[in-house]
Amino acid sequence: MRMNKKRSLIRLIAGIVALSGMVSLSGCGEAARQEAKMQGNEITLWTHTAGSEAELSTVEDIVADYNSSPDRKGTVKIQSFPQSSYNDSVISASTAGNLPCLVDVDQPNTPYWGWANILAPLTDKALLKRTNQLIGSAKGTWNKQIYTVGYFDATTALFARKSVLKDLGIRVATVDRPWTKAEMDDALAKMKASGHWAYPFEMGTADNKTEWYAYAYAPILQSFGGDLVNRKDYQTSQGVLNGPEAIEFANWMRSLVEHGYINSKGGSDTALDFVNKKSGLLYGGIWTMSTVQKYAKDSDDIVAMPMADFGHGSVAGGGSWTVGMTPTCNNKEAAMSYIRFSLKDKYIARMAKAGMNIPATVGAQNLIPEFEPGGSMQIFTKISSKYVKMRPETPAYNFISTEFRKTIGDIMNGSDAASGLNKAVNHIDGNIKGADGYIKK
């Protein structure tokens, strides 16, 4: 009996050792990797596209093309990460001194990562020449230098059903004539009065862990006349995030909750809820359209419109995923030559199409039927080119964004607007001072 026990223990240990051998041989392959690094000028590209087949396979194709092109300055290898934890992965790698050559960057993070030595400015002349041809919102700049470039941009819009608007006597807003604030309020009041929905308007309030609040609600703030930070020198939010316009904005947001137009903690999947007719009006990203086209049986009835004009013009969110180079990259020439290679119209078109985003050049737009004049997605190109306002180009942005979403969330749940915004401004200004103004020496 005891012998058996002993034998089984030995077997267990042997099994573990064998398994560990298996895994380390096939998995870690550290030695093999080191060797490859020594051999060629291999550079690694980190993408945020793990699990997103269309985008990842496009990147893979571009990289394969580059690696077999005669102009290559090195070999590119892809490492893909899931999007929702991508930033934490990069920041950890930076802490551990383990950054690759090329990294995907969410555009608004560019200044922060540039300041913190995660990104180096792009200097290659030919590359910079090509970036001049991209739409403005597909570039990440800071301190008058270009750090990152993107293949596409996303944007925000209102979604509604034409039939619903018609029944309730609400005008379909157009790019040239967005709703005014009065029209927006009127539309919401009519929808609420119709009784079709518990909350007629869905603006993604449950999405309070991500960039969504700053990406989507700061444009409303800006349309009211406020902003996240004073863009003159990016040293304070005083007067812009807590000025009268900002307070008016915050009170309007709270009134949406008080009138029962929105739930301050909305649905977990706003696009599907809209498809399932759980809301009548949706404020969402361009990616909503993919869900609509996939699931809605009445997708022809669904229309995208620009956000209302609250006094200072309609404003749309901008800035999406871009790619940049790290200062620790040991083959910067290859890194920049790859970026330039990947910015061909045909690649831009494929990258944009993979996620149904706005292609970064007109040439690429003409390669995708949906974005050509008259195409079903062209409305987003128009909204973006006419109304986009980029998030402030300061390393403080990351902090500002976290403060903004907490503050707006609290105000929607009944906190006093003025004191809440004052508190946010104090925190933001304290953070900027603590970082010596985020000025790079």
């Binding site: 012998m3 913190a116 990351n398 009944g414």
Partner: protein
């Protein structure tokens, strides 16, 4: 094979043969001390290396303006982080929240866990099945659990629907997770539901240490189930009880995951917790120094509470 090992050990001249002489008494103590340290060493070294030192580092950082990523040199800023912390109403709210959470969760979760453990400690075949089912919330992925509970708690969610039916439509729907008055309560209920299986398991392991003979004797004495519990089970669980009290208290005060997934501390700080604030500062806002200050204060508070608990349980 086993007997040969035994004989070799017995034949070793080490302890057995010479232990009787007084001079060797101290040798034995030294030997015991050495054996003890050898057995302790792996755990201690690992704990020092991978918790002790990093935590000490964090505590040092709490006196600096350190950031997770920054080109600026880190410098000492004295007690600035602490004065900022103590003047932040959100921190005091977080402390209050975890205090309320712990006061409710510790007794209820421990009690319910014990109830379930006793319920399924019966040696009948179905116990295997029920034990597994009761443990399911512990093993189910937090993504799934939180999605489901958010829908249960919604305005038009299942909880409100059930309450409406039970009260014959006299119930007005409450948005449980999104109402500052009810949000913490909703988190408490959900947390107890999710973790009670874990404590059931610990109680269950404690129950195995109570001799079946004691129960048989009690049964012969004509004790009913309740008296068996008070006379046999409860006294027999003393050491398990002490441990559960301390570990549940620590776990309750460290409340984080549910908050991170479901409420982000809202609405209006009504569900924020100390650990959530530390992680928010450290990870989301990358203010390492400030986050470390929160951690240090939190650590000291838990230390104090545990010390008091241990004193009370030991004096019993």
């Amino acid at each position: 094979m086993s007997s040969s090992i035994q004989t070799t050990i017995i034949r070793q001249p080490a302890d057995g043969d010479t232990a009787l002489t007084p001079n060797n008494k101290s040798a034995e103590v030294i030997h015991e001390n050495r054996a003890g340290w050898l057995m302790l060493a792996p755990a201690c070294i690992l704990l020092v290396l991978f918790i002790g030192i990093p935590v000490a580092l964090a505590f040092v950082l709490s006196f600096t303006n350190a950031r997770t990523i920054s080109p600026n040199p880190t410098r000492f800023i004295g007690l600035n982080n602490f004065t900022r912390l103590f003047s932040d109403p959100t921190f005091w709210r977080a402390l209050l929240n975890v205090a309320i959470f712990a006061v409710v969760v510790v007794p209820v979760q421990a009690g319910l866990g014990l109830f379930l453990a006793v319920l399924i400690n019966k040696k009948v075949r179905s116990s295997v099945f029920f034990r597994t089912v009761y443990f399911l919330p512990v093993v189910t992925s937090m993504v799934v659990v939180s999605l489901l509970w958010m829908f249960i708690y919604q305005n038009d969610g299942m909880l409100n629907q059930v309450l409406e039916k039970l009260t014959f439509h006299h119930w007005t729907a409450v948005d449980w997770l999104n109402n500052p008055q009810t949000a913490l309560g909703a988190i408490i209920v959900m947390s107890i539901w999710q973790a009670v299986g874990q404590h059931m398991l610990i109680w269950l392991s404690g129950l195995q240490t109570i001799s079946a003979e004691l129960y048989e004797a009690a049964e012969l004495d004509g004790c009913d189930a309740w008296h068996q519990f008070t006379n046999v089970t409860w006294p027999g669980l003393r050491s398990t009880r002490n441990m559960i009290l301390i570990t549940i208290t620590i776990a309750a005060l460290s409340l984080f995951t549910q908050i991170n997934v479901m409420t982000q501390g809202g609405p209006r700080d009504s569900t924020t917790t100390v650990v959530f604030e530390a992680v928010r500062s450290g990870f989301q806002q990358q203010e390492m120094g400030y986050a470390s200050a929160i951690t240090l204060v939190f650590f000291l508070i838990i230390m104090a509470i545990t010390a008091v608990q241990r004193r009370i349980t030991h004096s019993n």
